[in-house]
Protein backbone atom coordinates (compact mmCIF):
# COMPACT_ATOMS: atom_id res chain seq x y z
CA UNK A 1 0.00 0.00 0.00
CA UNK A 2 1.44 3.37 -1.03
CA UNK A 3 1.39 6.26 1.44
CA UNK A 4 -1.42 7.79 -0.61
CA UNK A 5 -3.52 4.65 -0.36
CA UNK A 6 -2.81 4.53 3.38
CA UNK A 7 -4.17 8.07 3.76
CA UNK A 8 -7.18 7.41 1.50
CA UNK A 9 -8.03 4.25 3.42
CA UNK A 10 -8.06 6.14 6.73
CA UNK A 11 -9.95 9.06 5.23
CA UNK A 12 -12.64 6.71 3.93
CA UNK A 13 -13.43 5.79 7.53
CA UNK A 14 -14.51 9.38 8.30
CA UNK A 15 -17.44 9.00 5.94
CA UNK A 16 -20.80 7.53 6.94
CA UNK A 17 -24.16 6.91 5.32
CA UNK A 18 -26.21 9.95 4.37
CA UNK A 19 -23.25 12.28 3.95
CA UNK A 20 -22.57 14.58 1.03
CA UNK A 21 -18.87 14.90 0.32
CA UNK A 22 -16.56 16.64 -2.11
CA UNK A 23 -13.24 15.21 -3.19
CA UNK A 24 -10.47 17.58 -4.18
CA UNK A 25 -8.30 16.79 -7.17
CA UNK A 26 -5.52 14.22 -6.64
CA UNK A 27 -5.25 12.13 -3.48
CA UNK A 28 -8.87 12.72 -2.34
CA UNK A 29 -10.18 10.99 -5.46
CA UNK A 30 -8.72 7.70 -4.14
CA UNK A 31 -11.04 7.78 -1.11
CA UNK A 32 -14.11 6.13 -2.74
CA UNK A 33 -12.04 2.96 -3.44
CA UNK A 34 -11.82 2.37 0.30
CA UNK A 35 -15.42 3.07 1.28
CA UNK A 36 -17.40 0.37 3.03
CA UNK A 37 -19.89 -1.12 0.55
CA UNK A 38 -22.70 -0.41 3.02
CA UNK A 39 -22.05 3.31 3.09
CA UNK A 40 -24.53 5.25 0.98
CA UNK A 41 -23.42 8.75 0.28
CA UNK A 42 -23.55 11.52 -2.28
CA UNK A 43 -20.39 12.65 -4.00
CA UNK A 44 -20.48 16.25 -5.19
CA UNK A 45 -18.15 17.50 -7.86
CA UNK A 46 -17.96 21.25 -8.32
CA UNK A 47 -18.32 21.10 -12.10
CA UNK A 48 -22.00 20.37 -11.52
CA UNK A 49 -22.90 16.88 -10.39
CA UNK A 50 -24.28 15.34 -7.22
CA UNK A 51 -24.25 11.55 -6.99
CA UNK A 52 -21.03 10.82 -8.86
CA UNK A 53 -20.17 7.15 -8.99
CA UNK A 54 -17.04 5.21 -9.89
CA UNK A 55 -14.58 6.35 -12.49
CA UNK A 56 -15.73 5.45 -15.98
CA UNK A 57 -13.84 2.99 -18.14
CA UNK A 58 -13.02 3.04 -21.84
CA UNK A 59 -16.36 1.27 -22.37
CA UNK A 60 -18.71 3.57 -20.45
CA UNK A 61 -16.94 6.96 -20.53
CA UNK A 62 -19.32 9.63 -21.83
CA UNK A 63 -17.62 12.70 -23.36
CA UNK A 64 -19.96 15.07 -21.48
CA UNK A 65 -19.61 13.46 -18.04
CA UNK A 66 -16.50 14.27 -16.03
CA UNK A 67 -15.49 15.30 -12.53
CA UNK A 68 -13.78 18.57 -11.63
CA UNK A 69 -10.37 17.05 -12.33
CA UNK A 70 -11.37 16.07 -15.87
CA UNK A 71 -11.69 12.33 -15.23
CA UNK A 72 -14.67 10.55 -16.79
CA UNK A 73 -17.17 9.37 -14.22
CA UNK A 74 -20.29 7.28 -13.86
CA UNK A 75 -23.24 8.51 -11.83
CA UNK A 76 -25.48 6.67 -9.39
CA UNK A 77 -29.25 6.46 -9.43
CA UNK A 78 -30.70 9.69 -8.09
CA UNK A 79 -27.83 11.81 -9.39
CA UNK A 80 -28.44 15.33 -10.64
CA UNK A 81 -26.65 17.76 -12.94
CA UNK A 82 -26.72 21.53 -12.53
CA UNK A 83 -24.91 24.75 -13.38
CA UNK A 84 -21.88 26.19 -11.57
CA UNK A 85 -23.97 28.68 -9.59
CA UNK A 86 -26.05 25.89 -8.07
CA UNK A 87 -22.94 23.78 -7.59
CA UNK A 88 -21.37 26.45 -5.41
CA UNK A 89 -24.68 27.19 -3.71
CA UNK A 90 -24.22 23.65 -2.38
CA UNK A 91 -20.68 24.49 -1.26
CA UNK A 92 -21.23 27.96 0.20
CA UNK A 93 -24.67 27.02 1.53
CA UNK A 94 -22.94 24.61 3.92
CA UNK A 95 -24.44 21.49 2.35
CA UNK A 96 -21.17 19.55 2.20
CA UNK A 97 -20.71 17.35 5.25
CA UNK A 98 -17.04 16.85 4.40
CA UNK A 99 -14.65 18.32 1.87
CA UNK A 100 -11.30 16.59 1.42
CA UNK A 101 -8.47 18.78 0.19
CA UNK A 102 -4.72 18.55 -0.20
CA UNK A 103 -2.38 21.06 1.42
CA UNK A 104 0.88 22.87 0.99
CA UNK A 105 0.81 24.04 4.60
CA UNK A 106 -1.57 23.74 7.56
CA UNK A 107 -1.14 25.92 10.62
CA UNK A 108 -1.78 24.62 14.12
CA UNK A 109 -4.87 26.83 14.30
CA UNK A 110 -6.25 25.30 11.14
CA UNK A 111 -5.29 27.86 8.51
CA UNK A 112 -4.87 26.18 5.13
CA UNK A 113 -2.50 27.20 2.34
CA UNK A 114 -2.86 25.24 -0.87
CA UNK A 115 -3.38 27.52 -3.79
CA UNK A 116 -0.34 29.64 -4.46
CA UNK A 117 3.43 29.75 -4.03
CA UNK A 118 4.09 33.34 -5.07
CA UNK A 119 6.42 33.50 -8.03
CA UNK A 120 6.52 29.72 -8.47
CA UNK A 121 3.13 28.11 -8.60
CA UNK A 122 -0.12 29.94 -9.32
CA UNK A 123 -2.59 27.81 -11.22
CA UNK A 124 -5.46 29.86 -9.80
CA UNK A 125 -8.06 29.63 -7.10
CA UNK A 126 -10.58 27.16 -8.50
CA UNK A 127 -13.16 25.94 -6.03
CA UNK A 128 -10.70 25.49 -3.16
CA UNK A 129 -11.32 28.75 -1.33
CA UNK A 130 -15.06 28.14 -1.14
CA UNK A 131 -14.66 24.48 -0.20
CA UNK A 132 -12.17 25.36 2.55
CA UNK A 133 -14.24 28.19 3.95
CA UNK A 134 -17.69 26.63 3.79
CA UNK A 135 -17.65 22.83 4.08
CA UNK A 136 -19.11 21.75 7.42
CA UNK A 137 -15.98 19.70 8.00
CA UNK A 138 -12.71 20.17 6.15
CA UNK A 139 -10.33 17.23 6.18
CA UNK A 140 -6.86 17.75 4.81
CA UNK A 141 -5.33 14.62 3.32
CA UNK A 142 -1.65 15.07 2.62
CA UNK A 143 1.83 13.67 2.94
CA UNK A 144 3.17 14.59 6.35
CA UNK A 145 6.16 16.43 4.91
CA UNK A 146 7.07 18.15 1.67
CA UNK A 147 9.29 16.44 -0.87
CA UNK A 148 12.18 18.26 0.75
CA UNK A 149 11.28 16.69 4.08
CA UNK A 150 9.80 19.77 5.74
CA UNK A 151 6.76 19.49 7.96
CA UNK A 152 3.55 20.64 6.31
CA UNK A 153 2.05 21.18 9.77
CA UNK A 154 3.56 24.40 11.03
CA UNK A 155 2.87 27.03 13.69
CA UNK A 156 1.87 29.71 11.15
CA UNK A 157 1.40 29.47 7.39
CA UNK A 158 4.20 31.14 5.43
CA UNK A 159 2.28 30.99 2.15
CA UNK A 160 -0.86 33.01 1.37
CA UNK A 161 -3.77 31.16 2.95
CA UNK A 162 -6.73 29.62 1.15
CA UNK A 163 -8.87 30.21 4.25
CA UNK A 164 -8.20 30.82 7.93
CA UNK A 165 -9.22 28.46 10.74
CA UNK A 166 -10.95 26.13 8.32
CA UNK A 167 -9.23 22.77 8.83
CA UNK A 168 -10.98 20.33 11.16
CA UNK A 169 -8.86 17.22 10.64
CA UNK A 170 -5.54 16.30 9.04
CA UNK A 171 -4.78 12.80 7.84
CA UNK A 172 -1.22 12.00 6.82
CA UNK A 173 0.57 8.70 6.31
CA UNK A 174 1.92 9.04 9.85
CA UNK A 175 -0.90 10.45 11.93
CA UNK A 176 -4.40 11.79 12.32
CA UNK A 177 -4.84 15.19 13.93
CA UNK A 178 -7.87 17.25 14.75
CA UNK A 179 -8.16 20.95 15.36
CA UNK A 180 -10.59 22.07 18.05
CA UNK A 181 -10.85 25.62 19.37
CA UNK A 182 -7.65 26.66 17.60
CA UNK A 183 -5.65 23.79 19.08
CA UNK A 184 -4.08 20.85 17.32
CA UNK A 185 -4.59 17.39 18.84
CA UNK A 186 -2.86 14.16 17.82
CA UNK A 187 -5.65 11.59 17.57
CA UNK A 188 -4.07 8.52 16.00
CA UNK A 189 -0.66 7.21 15.02
CA UNK A 190 -0.03 5.03 11.99
CA UNK A 191 1.00 1.53 13.04
CA UNK A 192 4.22 1.98 11.01
CA UNK A 193 5.05 5.18 12.91
CA UNK A 194 5.66 6.32 16.46
CA UNK A 195 5.12 9.33 18.68
CA UNK A 196 8.82 10.07 18.40
CA UNK A 197 8.76 10.13 14.61
CA UNK A 198 5.66 12.33 14.58
CA UNK A 199 7.14 14.73 17.12
CA UNK A 200 10.29 14.96 15.04
CA UNK A 201 8.50 15.55 11.77
CA UNK A 202 5.83 17.95 13.00
CA UNK A 203 6.75 21.62 13.29
CA UNK A 204 3.33 22.60 14.63
CA UNK A 205 2.69 22.27 18.36
CA UNK A 206 0.17 19.56 19.12
CA UNK A 207 -1.44 18.12 22.22
CA UNK A 208 -2.46 14.61 23.17
CA UNK A 209 -5.68 13.67 24.89
CA UNK A 210 -5.56 10.84 27.47
CA UNK A 211 -2.72 8.33 27.78
CA UNK A 212 -3.18 5.89 24.94
CA UNK A 213 -2.97 7.10 21.37
CA UNK A 214 -4.85 4.69 19.12
CA UNK A 215 -3.20 3.21 16.06
CA UNK A 216 -4.63 3.28 12.54
Amino acid sequence: MSYKQRIAERAARTVSTGMTINLGIGLPTLIPCYLDQEVQLLIHSENGVLGAGKAATQENAHPMQIDAGGGYITVNKGASFFDSATSFAIVRGGRLDIAFLGALEVSEKGDLANWIIPGKFAPGIGGGMELAQKARKLIVVTSHCTKKGQSKLIPECTLPVTAKKCVDMIITELAVFEIKNDELFLLEIARESSLDEITEKTAARFRIRGKEIPEF
Binding site: N47, S84, I116, P160
Partner: protein, 239 residues
Amino acid sequence: MLPLNADNKMNKLTSYTEAISLIKSEQSIMVGGFGNPGTPMTLIEGLLKSGVRNLTIIKNEANEPGIGISRLVEKGIVRKLIISHLGLNSRVIEMMNNKQVEIEFHPQGILAEKIRSGGAGLLGIITDIGVDTIIADTRKVVDFYGQKAILEKSIRADVALIHAAAADTLGNLCYTKTAFNFNPLMAQAADLVIAETFEVLEPGGIDPDHVHTPCVFVDHVVHVENNPRLYGVLAHHVL
Protein backbone atom coordinates in the same frame (compact mmCIF):
# COMPACT_ATOMS: atom_id res chain seq x y z
CA MET B 1 -31.26 20.70 -40.38
CA LEU B 2 -34.20 23.08 -40.45
CA PRO B 3 -34.27 25.77 -43.13
CA LEU B 4 -32.79 29.13 -42.22
CA ASN B 5 -35.45 31.77 -42.42
CA ALA B 6 -34.27 35.34 -42.57
CA ASP B 7 -37.81 36.70 -42.82
CA ASN B 8 -38.94 35.26 -39.55
CA LYS B 9 -37.49 37.09 -36.57
CA MET B 10 -38.62 34.28 -34.32
CA ASN B 11 -36.37 31.76 -36.08
CA LYS B 12 -32.89 32.06 -34.62
CA LEU B 13 -31.25 29.30 -36.61
CA THR B 14 -28.17 30.95 -38.09
CA SER B 15 -25.39 29.68 -40.34
CA TYR B 16 -22.03 28.98 -38.77
CA THR B 17 -20.32 31.51 -41.06
CA GLU B 18 -22.80 34.27 -40.30
CA ALA B 19 -22.68 33.68 -36.55
CA ILE B 20 -18.87 33.79 -36.47
CA SER B 21 -18.83 36.99 -38.56
CA LEU B 22 -20.71 38.79 -35.77
CA ILE B 23 -17.74 38.51 -33.40
CA LYS B 24 -15.22 41.34 -33.56
CA SER B 25 -11.70 42.07 -32.36
CA GLU B 26 -11.36 43.77 -28.96
CA GLN B 27 -14.59 42.20 -27.70
CA SER B 28 -15.15 40.46 -24.37
CA ILE B 29 -16.34 36.91 -24.90
CA MET B 30 -17.79 34.50 -22.38
CA VAL B 31 -17.17 30.88 -23.26
CA GLY B 32 -19.10 28.06 -21.60
CA GLY B 33 -17.57 24.79 -20.50
CA PHE B 34 -15.69 23.17 -17.64
CA GLY B 35 -13.07 20.93 -19.18
CA ASN B 36 -14.35 19.60 -22.49
CA PRO B 37 -18.02 19.20 -21.54
CA GLY B 38 -20.01 22.26 -22.52
CA THR B 39 -17.12 23.95 -24.31
CA PRO B 40 -18.42 25.28 -27.67
CA MET B 41 -15.57 23.69 -29.63
CA THR B 42 -16.94 24.43 -33.10
CA LEU B 43 -17.59 28.11 -32.39
CA ILE B 44 -14.07 28.37 -30.94
CA GLU B 45 -12.69 26.83 -34.17
CA GLY B 46 -14.55 29.52 -36.04
CA LEU B 47 -13.07 32.24 -33.87
CA LEU B 48 -9.59 30.80 -34.41
CA LYS B 49 -9.96 31.12 -38.19
CA SER B 50 -11.86 34.42 -38.25
CA GLY B 51 -8.92 36.78 -37.80
CA VAL B 52 -10.22 38.45 -34.63
CA ARG B 53 -7.67 39.50 -32.02
CA ASN B 54 -7.18 41.30 -28.70
CA LEU B 55 -10.00 39.35 -27.11
CA THR B 56 -10.93 39.25 -23.46
CA ILE B 57 -12.11 35.74 -22.67
CA ILE B 58 -14.19 34.85 -19.63
CA LYS B 59 -14.24 31.13 -18.87
CA ASN B 60 -13.93 28.71 -15.97
CA GLU B 61 -10.50 27.45 -17.08
CA ALA B 62 -8.38 27.56 -20.22
CA ASN B 63 -9.13 23.97 -21.29
CA GLU B 64 -6.00 21.88 -21.85
CA PRO B 65 -3.08 22.60 -24.20
CA GLY B 66 -4.20 22.34 -27.81
CA ILE B 67 -7.89 22.17 -26.88
CA GLY B 68 -10.71 24.72 -26.86
CA ILE B 69 -9.80 28.25 -25.79
CA SER B 70 -6.22 27.21 -25.11
CA ARG B 71 -5.79 27.37 -28.89
CA LEU B 72 -6.97 30.99 -28.90
CA VAL B 73 -4.52 31.87 -26.13
CA GLU B 74 -1.69 29.94 -27.78
CA LYS B 75 -2.36 31.78 -31.05
CA GLY B 76 -1.85 35.07 -29.21
CA ILE B 77 -5.28 36.53 -29.94
CA VAL B 78 -6.32 36.69 -26.27
CA ARG B 79 -5.26 39.79 -24.38
CA LYS B 80 -6.84 38.87 -21.07
CA LEU B 81 -8.40 35.86 -19.40
CA ILE B 82 -10.94 36.25 -16.58
CA ILE B 83 -10.89 32.83 -15.11
CA SER B 84 -11.03 30.57 -12.07
CA HIS B 85 -7.99 28.36 -12.59
CA LEU B 86 -5.42 27.08 -15.07
CA GLY B 87 -4.68 23.85 -13.24
CA LEU B 88 -4.78 21.64 -16.31
CA ASN B 89 -2.97 23.96 -18.66
CA SER B 90 0.76 24.32 -18.10
CA ARG B 91 1.13 26.04 -21.47
CA VAL B 92 -1.16 28.92 -20.52
CA ILE B 93 0.45 29.11 -17.06
CA GLU B 94 3.77 29.57 -18.84
CA MET B 95 2.30 32.28 -21.08
CA MET B 96 0.92 33.96 -17.97
CA ASN B 97 4.34 33.83 -16.31
CA ASN B 98 5.90 35.28 -19.48
CA LYS B 99 3.29 38.04 -19.46
CA GLN B 100 2.02 36.96 -22.89
CA VAL B 101 -1.51 36.94 -21.52
CA GLU B 102 -3.04 38.84 -18.63
CA ILE B 103 -4.91 36.71 -16.10
CA GLU B 104 -7.58 37.73 -13.60
CA PHE B 105 -8.38 34.93 -11.14
CA HIS B 106 -11.61 34.53 -9.17
CA PRO B 107 -12.86 31.83 -6.83
CA GLN B 108 -14.84 29.50 -9.07
CA GLY B 109 -18.25 29.95 -7.50
CA ILE B 110 -17.73 33.70 -7.19
CA LEU B 111 -16.88 33.89 -10.90
CA ALA B 112 -20.11 31.97 -11.53
CA GLU B 113 -22.09 34.38 -9.33
CA LYS B 114 -20.53 37.49 -10.86
CA ILE B 115 -21.63 36.27 -14.28
CA ARG B 116 -25.05 35.19 -13.03
CA SER B 117 -25.46 38.58 -11.37
CA GLY B 118 -24.64 40.32 -14.66
CA GLY B 119 -27.23 38.17 -16.39
CA ALA B 120 -29.80 38.89 -13.70
CA GLY B 121 -29.48 42.66 -14.11
CA LEU B 122 -27.93 43.09 -10.68
CA LEU B 123 -24.93 45.30 -10.02
CA GLY B 124 -23.11 42.72 -7.94
CA ILE B 125 -23.01 40.35 -5.01
CA ILE B 126 -21.84 40.54 -1.43
CA THR B 127 -19.74 37.66 -0.15
CA ASP B 128 -17.38 36.62 2.62
CA ILE B 129 -15.40 34.28 0.35
CA GLY B 130 -11.74 35.24 0.45
CA VAL B 131 -12.07 38.00 3.06
CA ASP B 132 -9.12 36.59 5.03
CA THR B 133 -6.92 36.04 1.98
CA ILE B 134 -4.73 38.08 -0.34
CA ILE B 135 -7.57 38.32 -2.85
CA ALA B 136 -9.22 40.80 -0.49
CA ASP B 137 -6.30 43.17 -1.15
CA THR B 138 -7.58 43.78 -4.67
CA ARG B 139 -11.30 43.81 -3.80
CA LYS B 140 -13.77 46.30 -2.34
CA VAL B 141 -13.92 45.21 1.31
CA VAL B 142 -16.66 46.68 3.53
CA ASP B 143 -18.36 46.08 6.82
CA PHE B 144 -21.76 44.54 6.11
CA TYR B 145 -23.98 44.20 9.16
CA GLY B 146 -20.94 43.69 11.39
CA GLN B 147 -19.24 41.24 9.08
CA LYS B 148 -16.23 41.71 6.80
CA ALA B 149 -17.54 41.38 3.26
CA ILE B 150 -16.42 41.81 -0.32
CA LEU B 151 -18.56 43.70 -2.83
CA GLU B 152 -18.09 41.88 -6.12
CA LYS B 153 -19.12 43.60 -9.32
CA SER B 154 -21.23 41.83 -11.94
CA ILE B 155 -19.60 40.67 -15.13
CA ARG B 156 -21.26 41.01 -18.53
CA ALA B 157 -19.66 40.49 -21.94
CA ASP B 158 -20.15 41.55 -25.52
CA VAL B 159 -20.58 37.95 -26.64
CA ALA B 160 -21.35 34.59 -25.05
CA LEU B 161 -20.51 31.34 -26.83
CA ILE B 162 -22.64 28.53 -25.52
CA HIS B 163 -22.74 24.78 -26.07
CA ALA B 164 -26.21 23.31 -25.63
CA ALA B 165 -27.30 19.69 -25.95
CA ALA B 166 -30.42 20.76 -27.84
CA ALA B 167 -32.13 23.93 -28.96
CA ASP B 168 -35.36 24.82 -30.66
CA THR B 169 -35.55 27.37 -33.46
CA LEU B 170 -36.89 29.99 -31.04
CA GLY B 171 -33.65 29.72 -29.09
CA ASN B 172 -34.76 27.69 -26.08
CA LEU B 173 -31.79 25.66 -24.85
CA CYS B 174 -31.22 22.56 -22.79
CA TYR B 175 -28.02 21.10 -21.44
CA THR B 176 -26.96 17.62 -20.43
CA LYS B 177 -24.72 15.93 -17.86
CA THR B 178 -21.72 17.98 -16.72
CA ALA B 179 -22.03 20.21 -19.77
CA PHE B 180 -24.30 22.67 -17.91
CA ASN B 181 -21.57 24.34 -15.84
CA PHE B 182 -21.17 28.00 -16.91
CA ASN B 183 -23.40 27.78 -19.99
CA PRO B 184 -26.78 28.71 -18.49
CA LEU B 185 -25.17 31.59 -16.58
CA MET B 186 -23.28 33.02 -19.54
CA ALA B 187 -26.29 32.61 -21.83
CA GLN B 188 -27.97 35.35 -19.80
CA ALA B 189 -25.01 37.69 -19.40
CA ALA B 190 -23.96 38.90 -22.84
CA ASP B 191 -25.26 41.34 -25.44
CA LEU B 192 -24.90 38.76 -28.20
CA VAL B 193 -25.54 35.13 -27.37
CA ILE B 194 -24.60 32.42 -29.85
CA ALA B 195 -25.40 28.82 -28.97
CA GLU B 196 -24.04 25.83 -30.83
CA THR B 197 -25.93 22.58 -30.56
CA PHE B 198 -25.93 19.07 -31.99
CA GLU B 199 -29.73 18.99 -32.17
CA VAL B 200 -32.18 21.60 -33.45
CA LEU B 201 -35.87 21.06 -32.74
CA GLU B 202 -39.07 22.78 -33.80
CA PRO B 203 -40.76 24.99 -31.15
CA GLY B 204 -42.51 22.62 -28.78
CA GLY B 205 -39.75 20.05 -29.16
CA ILE B 206 -38.51 20.83 -25.65
CA ASP B 207 -40.89 20.28 -22.73
CA PRO B 208 -41.54 23.77 -21.25
CA ASP B 209 -40.63 22.39 -17.81
CA HIS B 210 -37.23 21.25 -19.10
CA VAL B 211 -36.04 24.41 -20.85
CA HIS B 212 -32.80 25.39 -19.11
CA THR B 213 -32.28 28.72 -20.91
CA PRO B 214 -35.46 30.50 -22.05
CA CYS B 215 -35.22 31.66 -25.65
CA VAL B 216 -35.37 35.36 -24.79
CA PHE B 217 -31.72 35.26 -23.81
CA VAL B 218 -30.47 33.66 -27.04
CA ASP B 219 -29.77 35.51 -30.29
CA HIS B 220 -28.46 32.78 -32.59
CA VAL B 221 -28.63 29.00 -32.73
CA VAL B 222 -25.95 27.27 -34.80
CA HIS B 223 -26.37 23.63 -35.75
CA VAL B 224 -23.00 21.87 -35.44
CA GLU B 225 -21.79 18.35 -36.07
CA ASN B 226 -20.83 16.12 -33.16
CA ASN B 227 -17.29 15.78 -34.48
CA PRO B 228 -15.38 13.15 -32.43
CA ARG B 229 -12.12 15.04 -33.00
CA LEU B 230 -13.55 18.00 -31.07
CA TYR B 231 -16.05 16.41 -28.73
CA GLY B 232 -14.76 12.87 -28.19
CA VAL B 233 -13.55 11.24 -24.97
CA LEU B 234 -9.99 12.35 -24.06
CA ALA B 235 -8.09 9.08 -23.72
CA HIS B 236 -5.68 10.48 -21.12
CA HIS B 237 -8.57 11.19 -18.74
CA VAL B 238 -9.95 7.65 -18.78
CA LEU B 239 -8.80 5.61 -15.81
